[in-house]
Symmetry: C2
Subunit: 498 residues, 2 copies
């Protein structure tokens, strides 16, 4: 019963992953600073235990035997394929490197959390150098074992099968096309009336919960909390959505929450029969991001969504319906303003890919050794000038210190954001074709059909199929840049705001 042995082994690995996910959420959301050292050690210990179990040589033997028997259905076959993927990556890495890396990531992320508000690059340069040194070691070990380039080996960890050879041409096309779209958008847009403020955080939170419920987030199986950097963590039946609030601009948290809710609903929609098994997990991070951006950008920044949401906003904030600043059209205008600005997570969807491309190019240079940690601030500033056209003037907190990713050991992750944007646009075009009257449904606050379409085409598939296959099956074509560019052109740079 080699399949049964695999199932049991990965059931336990899944439970360790549950523990790691909740502890990581707690670390970011709840933990007092004094707990940092003990938490880093505990996470490193769990990472070591989980790694040893995934890398167990019997996994390979059992998988070979299970596949050889030839009697597995497609879900079990896919499950074994995913186990082997995890096993091959784990086998490539010595446990000591996994543990050391886990510890260094946690400590560096803790240092970043304190240093960013203080704009203190010197406080993070050393822990970041340690993290990148270990990340490079991991990339090289994986590259050898998987016969990939080092950076591709990292990409592959976030989205199986993803390679620079696929990403770079898409990104080059965006680099060429976006400046023109951005310029036309900036020329065409009318300024929104300034939004009244400040809005007290409990009111913003109440609105966020209401919107989450309305679009279909299940609070019996999830939470909403406050953190430094919005993310969605936890487990399919215990999804932890997090956000931060800006009293002076409620749209930031509202859309951060809708974004993370897209991630969360994907998790909640995974196949219940396969909980805890590799095939029951969400797909790669590009597919995951397609679900958050589908919700945030494609659905919720549409005029139809604002027709639905504006009354809820006014109700939550006790606002006057006769005040034009709270009208759907004005809120929509404020939420779709295009601007070359500093912060990726606050960027509009037309300039956002340029932020990602900046990081994609720098992190490749970090991994292949062309760029040293000490040179990151200058390189970041130069790239910002080239891609976005302004100078950061030493404001590292709004430059190379703005994102937690590298500090937390996530290198090769950024490109999945923009691949997710491409996929979201392509999936939304397909959903709109399949669901006549979609905009009217959104206007009426009816999300069931839309969510049903995502459940059927993406969520319930788990890892039965690869991301590229899922997207092609749902949209009828390979992942490309057309749908996103068409969408941006229509919404921002066309004759009318759409």
């Amino acid at each position: 019963m080699s399949y049964a042995a695999l199932h049991k082994a990965f059931e336990e690995i899944g439970r360790l992953a549950h523990a790691q996910a909740i502890l990581a959420w707690d670390e970011a959301v709840m933990m007092p600073v004094g707990g940092g050292a003990a938490r880093a050690e505990a996470l490193a210990t769990l990472a070591g235990i989980a790694h040893r179990r995934v890398a167990d040589e019997r996994i390979g033997e059992w998988a070979e035997a299970a596949l050889a028997k030839g009697d597995l259905d497609e879900w079990r076959q896919a499950n074994v394929r995913e186990m082997l993927r995890a096993w091959r990556r784990a086998r490539a890495l010595p446990e000591s490197l996994v543990v050391e890396s886990s510890r260094a990531n946690a400590l560096s992320e803790q240092a970043w959390r304190v240093a960013r508000p203080a704009n203190d690059w010197n406080a993070v340069a050393k822990p970041l150098a340690k993290v990148l040194e270990l990340t490079r070691s991991k990339a090289q070990a994986l590259a050898e074992a998987l016969q990939l380039d080092a950076y591709d080996a990292l990409l592959d960890g976030y989205e199986a099968g993803l390679r620079c050879a696929f990403v770079t041409p898409l990104f080059e096309r965006l680099k060429a096309a976006l400046p023109n779209i951005i310029d036309r958008a900036i020329g065409a847009q009318r300024p929104a009336l300034p939004l009244p403020g400040p809005v007290a955080i409990p009111r913003q939170e109440a609105l966020a919960r209401r919107l989450m419920e309305r679009v279909g987030f299940d609070f019996e199986r999830g939470r909403l909390d406050v953190t430094h950097h919005p993310f969605c963590g936890g487990d399919p039946d215990d999804v932890r959505v997090t956000t931060r609030y800006n009293a002076d601009n409620f749209l930031e948290a509202m859309f951060a929450v809708l974004h993370e809710t897209g991630h969360g609903m994907y998790e909640q929609g995974l196949p219940a029969a396969w909980r805890g098994q590799p095939v029951g997990r969400s797909g790669g991070m590009a597919l995951h991001e397609s679900q958050s951006l589908f919700m945030e950008q494609q659905v919720c920044r549409s005029p139809a969504f604002f027709d639905f949401a504006a009354p809820l906003v006014r109700e939550a904030f006790g606002a006057d319906a006769a005040d034009a600043r709270w009208a759907a059209a004005n809120l929509h205008r404020a939420a779709t303003r295009v601007e070359r600005s500093r912060i990726r997570v606050e960027a509009d969807e037309a300039t956002y890919p340029l932020h990602v491309i900046l990081r994609y190019e720098l992190e490749q240079a970090l991994i292949d050794g062309r760029l040293a940690v000490a040179d990151i601030p200058d390189a970041w500033n130069a790239a910002t000038q080239a891609l976005l056209g302004f100078d950061l003037e030493g404001e590292h907190r709004d430059g190379c210190m703005q994102d937690v990713h590298w500090f937390g050991g996530l290198c090769g992750y950024f490109p999945t954001y923009t691949l997710g944007a491409l996929a979201a646009a392509q999936l939304h075009r397909a959903a709109a074709a399949a669901l006549p009257g979609l905009a009217d449904a959104v206007r009426g606050g009816e999300f069931e059909a839309l969510v049903g379409w995502l459940r059927h085409n993406v969520h319930s598939v788990g890892r039965l199929r690869d991301t590229s296959v899922i997207i092609e099956a749902a949209t009828g074509e390979q992942l490309g840049a057309d749908a996103l560019l068409t969408h941006l052109d229509a919404r921002y740079a066309g004759a009318a705001h759409v």
Copy 2:
């Protein structure tokens, strides 16, 4: 280097304990109901891994070799003694029983959380029967291995060395002495003016934080949150104090928080050099409870504390200083009212031991098989009538369902509450003798000397010495009932309220 091997092994066991502590806190405080099944499995998996490591046969060999060498200092010797204690208990239990028990406890506790407000005994009887069956199996296995009676084997798990032969005579003395003290207290007390209410929960929470800070809780290494049943969890550098709030009686949460703060400050005061090692952990639960009750009952229900706290209460609640209901004397009167009532955690300190004795007698009968789960409600009611003099009239939520302990697998734990009360009274008497002007210091909000005395005599000792030795060294006598009875008599039944 057998000592080094032990140190390393228990360092990892300590990290697993950190993970378990935070996940258990999250389960009670944060987790949405849908996450319950996955959490129970994750906790069971961690319990299994930790158990296997503690029960590793090499621990015994290493410990023997380390002790034989004869070159360990007293901390290392005590560390090895604590390791051996844990090892012997772990060796007695098969891993399957530990895992099954962990899972059953988590599921039963989840069922209790829903069933208690609904007063639904039937919904918990079955999971509780499962928990008790497994608890009995554990008790029997431990009893055989340690050559103890079954119930003593459970007691020993919460306070090493504790036996019924020590507990029962003390409890018999309390059973004999308390009714008279209670009757005299009820006869002597004057009713407090009714407290104004309701008090909004954010205001109560702000007061709780302020008081925690003033008595010396370190929020850089701890938190305060809301839960169903107040407890103190987490880790020495990441202490999780929890409470619930009653809008109509702010004193409940205020004293629950001060109680848990006593636990938390003990954790925060443990010897930093021994973090994660057995000798660096807090002592048994009786000693732990002595620290919470020292703070709650001995210090904070004194008139001196109310002189200090009343202005803070009024400030936090925006209350009028001229209103006699908010005067220190009236608040003190309200907080020291003696009454035979239903709920243990809300009971005054004179009747509280009777609640504990009730549970102590019933749980012995559950473990030795004289009492079946189905008969708990009747037995609880009969014992309530005998010890407290009233009928519960089918209100199980205020009777046998009021406490989480049995549902969560904690049997043999209750007696430590009252042993803690005895120890708290004895320690406070010794502290008052050692620190002249103690009441004036408390009146002035100066807690440093008092906390310093506890740090020196209890907190910083960790498990270097056994509880009985710690108490005798600090107070000059063996643990007994005199100090508590004297204290109760003086505060409640004497000529004046003290």
